[in-house]
Amino acid sequence: MRLRRLQIENFRGVKALDWRHIAETAALVGPGDSGKSTILDAIERVLSPKWNVSFDDTDFWDLHTEAPIVIRATITNLPSSFYRDSKFGLLLHGFDTTNGEAVRASGDEGEEHALVVELRVDASLEPVWTVVDGDGERHTFMARDREALGMLRVGGYVDHHLAWSKGSVLMRLTDSGDAVGAVLAEATRQARSELKTDGLEKLTAAAQKVEALGKNLGVAPKNALVPHLDVLSLSVAAGALSLHDGKVPTRRAGLGTRRLLAVAIQREAAAQSGLTIVDEFEHGLEPHRIRRLLRVLRGRAPEGEGLAKVQLILTTHSPTVLHELESTEVAVTRRAADGTVTVQSLPAAVDYILKRTPHALLARKVIVAEGATEVGLCHALDEAWTDETGASFGYRGVAVVDGVGGTQPAEISGHLASLGYEVALLIDSDAKAKVSKAVGAQVFAWPHGLCTEQCLANDLPAAAITQMATVADERGGRSVREALADQLGASRASLKEGDPRSWITAKGMDAFRKAFGDLAKKKNQAWFKTRDQGAFLGRLIAEHWSAIANTPTHKVIGKLRDFTHG
């Protein structure tokens, strides 16, 4: 079974959703409260083999029980038994891969066949599962039909699946449910025959009392009354048989191990088809197990080679998970103010974000920074503003991405903005930037074609300039002094080692600011081109914030602050 399209109306936080083109593997990412878990809940409920799924008023969007909850799943790769005309053989649709929707069947060779399954809950809170045919008519879709779909939810609680209980994947893996019943009945009988009644003096005394009372009333038991186990009430019910690691039930194992086991059993039970939905895929798993599990489930070599693929729909907050996936496998979830939720796959063009800075995809707001300097600068500002306001970027869902210069920062910004992220682009305003590509992003650029270092050299107060010069001196030593002297048009001797003040007094402060900034921009003088150095600059800005009021630096960084803290 493959889920190809999911439509939701009025379910919890989702007023409306139409998710088409669901990939074989789909990782739902998006800020908290964007509807990811609701989507997994919806899939589970519409395809669940349980017949007693309960709903209450809080399951309705905005508690409006007058508008019914409708969850509709379009599925393909159906179990063979579904093709029977007594099942759904006469209720099938064709599947249009271009629009990702069920259409009237054409009967053509190679056509994919789809079944539209709907779960509807109205104010009576009674869930009704149906199959919707080409004429829009509804037909009953029973729990045992849903069981044939092989859907497994691996949530926080998987212990149920590690025992031979009703609807568990282990039960599905076992050919005959009757065999389980026979084993349990036999176990119960043995328990009964091995119970030693002579160890139960206290109970025996009570039994004798009853026997005496009975005799008074004319009740004469054939044998003496004794306490014993009643097979019926001794409910070694289904579920009592469970997987054990030696003598220890597997439910005592770590969460990650239990989840892996549940997934493994389900893969085997589902054989050719099946859908696994996993909450917080990374939960309880080390990065290497995450990678391995992802490869196995997606049938990727070498670990998953030759294994049947199952469809996998998961939510994640882990860069490790994202790093393993293709861009088409990442589904970005967004909720609009009116409750409409959209799910979009990443365009292939942003594959490199996935590979390099997957964490950005997990944020609400993204700062795309020109390069390492700007990334460091942002991090330092984050620290300073956190001290001041108590709210970090992390708290506010802000991620900082290294755009690695050239046209890339603008392009990344545009793509991220189109996926619904709030994006700020922090760049130099030179011609290379191609700001026009950053559609939908806020662009914060230094004025007059200046780079970060130039702008700061212009605007920061004298004390800060001295600190910058000191750092440059430490990093570059003599070559820095000589290059600066040449830039200033001063004698190389006038710039003394270990005394940056002397560099400033050589030709005066204004000349130094310009020469220092211009020189810092050059490739061979990359004094501030690392994250650490960028962070140093960021700390200077924060430290001298009030002193640089009304400068271009203040203006640009002020806007950035409005973006992150707004």
Partner: protein
């Protein structure tokens, strides 16, 4: 015997058993379905009566329900065609009055697609078709499409083929012979007549009669034949004489009698002569009733009265004449107050003319049906369908009537033919029905060999043949 036939049928994936009348055709079908080798079978037949008969036999043999799906060919095709209208071209939602001739090619188209083949092979392990000789060319084409996915077996009898009047002709015997492996003498033992209380000698005689018809194309009734032969020359003697052999059938009140004639008009004539006490076996789908339903929708009061009386009087003795004065008065716009004969019926007609509603029409019809001294209803099916349709109309106009007529007809089709102890019918209409006694009213050159064979094999206890000669030469022989 039947076991040999079962084995022979499993010998091929396209086998066909020829089954003489009363020789265990239904039993063979049931055994084929019950056999563990057959898996789940699609069992198709032509009529709802056929479905009911097979269902009853399967139930008596305790064949599990998941071993078969039993349906009429038409019903099954309609279901498949309607499920995939873009493939079949069938109009959706046409179930009340479906276009049958379009349903067969529609379902065939579905069965020929990749989707249809998948559905067929997942649903059935084989298809069994009953009364194959009655399949039309379109139905035969559908069966061939099914045979591409699953084993296909047929049972039937070329000597019971009766050509109905339809646009879709019956599949020729030669086509069946080339498309199937035909087991010519699969079922020849006259089991029906050997049962307790039946006429075993008649059964043996019918085996010989079949051989005569097949070999010589004619039937010579020997002096010692276990039947009653009555000489009567229809060409020169009054048809009134036909009534007496019918009356002369010596049968207890619990037994059934049928008189068989070639033409519907002759049936009506005989029915009138029998005073309406021998109703005619009728088709379910008489188009007269549908036409009446449509006609009444926009008709004025006088037209409603005239059409309704005309329709019912064609099915009743004497009533049309008895109420003619009243109808003429209403048509001329005169009152009926001066009419004294059949006064209450005339008054109801007058009410209906003034206020033409289904309720008033029903009141008149029920009045006429309750009045049994002067007239008899001899064609019941459509009149009862009309009464049922009128009862289901809720409004004050006849707008709903066509739909209600269609619904009443569908219910009637499922309920089966109305049976009466003594009936009159043509070979086409009595085909598939069984009676205790039969009277064949023979006219030279009227019946085909097939019609003759069907007529001969209807009765299990006694057969009377009324003819001008002991040699019966069928039409075209």
């Amino acid at each position: 015997m039947a076991n040999a036939a079962v084995e022979a049928m499993f010998g091929s994936t396209r086998s066909f058993a020829v089954a003489a009348a009363g020789c265990g055709k239904t039993e063979l079908l049931a055994q084929l379905v019950a056999d563990h080798r057959s898996g789940r079978q699609l069992v198709l037949t032509h009529t709802h009566a056929g479905v009911a008969a097979i269902k009853k036999r399967l139930a008596s043999m305790r064949v599990p329900h998941d071993k078969f799906h039993l349906d009429t060919i038409a019903g099954w095709c309609l279901r498949y065609g309607a499920a995939y209208p873009t493939i079949s071209g069938c109009r959706p939602g046409a179930e009340a009055d479906p276009d049958w001739t379009a349903a067969y090619p529609g379902a065939e188209k579905v069965c020929r697609t990749a989707l249809g083949k998948r559905v067929i092979s997942e649903s059935y392990n084989g298809v069994l078709v009953d009364e194959y000789q009655d399949c039309s060319l379109k139905q035969h084409a559908l069966v061939r499409a099914l045979a591409e996915c699953i084993p296909c077996r047929g049972v039937g009898d070329p000597l019971q083929t009766i050509f109905g009047f339809r646009e879709d002709p019956v599949v020729p015997w030669a086509t069946i012979q080339s498309d199937f492996e035909v087991l010519a003498d699969a079922l020849t033992e006259p089991w029906r007549w050997r049962r307790e209380g039946r006429n075993a000698a008649l059964g043996e005689w019918l085996v010989g009669a079949r051989q005569q018809l097949e070999a010589t194309g004619r039937l010579v009734i020997a002096e010692d034949a276990p039947i009653t032969w009555v000489r009567h020359n229809a060409a020169i003697e009054a048809p009134d004489a036909w009534a007496s052999p019918c009356r002369n059938v010596n049968s207890p009140a619990t037994e059934t009698v049928v008189a068989i004639l070639k033409w519907p008009n002759r049936c009506k004539d005989l029915a009138r002569r029998m005073g309406g006490r021998w109703p005619i076996v009728e088709r379910f789908d008489d188009s007269d009733l549908l036409r009446l339903g449509v006609k009444l929708v926009d008709a004025d009061g006088a037209t409603v009265v005239e059409s309704l009386v005309e329709f019912v009087s064609e099915r009743m003795t004497a009533m049309g004449t008895a109420l003619k004065t009243a109808v003429d008065a209403i048509k001329a716009g005169r009152g009926v107050s001066r009419i004294t004969k059949n006064r209450e019926h005339a008054n109801r007609l007058s009410t209906l003319a003034n206020v033409p509603t289904p309720a008033n029409a029903l009141a008149w019809l029920e009045g006429v049906l309750a009045h049994k001294d002067d007239w008899w209803l001899y064609r019941r099916e459509c009149v009862f369908q009309l009464r049922e349709a009128l009862r289901h109309c809720t409004g004050n106009t006849f707008t709903e009537l066509p739909d209600m007529v269609a619904a009443a007809r569908t219910r009637a089709r499922h309920r089966g033919r109305l049976t009466h102890r003594r009936t009159i019918g043509t070979p086409l209409l009595v085909k598939g029905l069984e009676f205790d006694h039969a009277v064949l009213l023979w006219e030279p050159d009227h019946l085909s060999a097939q019609e003759l064979y069907v007529a001969l094999t209807r009765a299990s206890k006694s057969l009377t043949i009324v003819s001008n000669s002991r040699t019966l030469i069928p039409q075209g022989a």
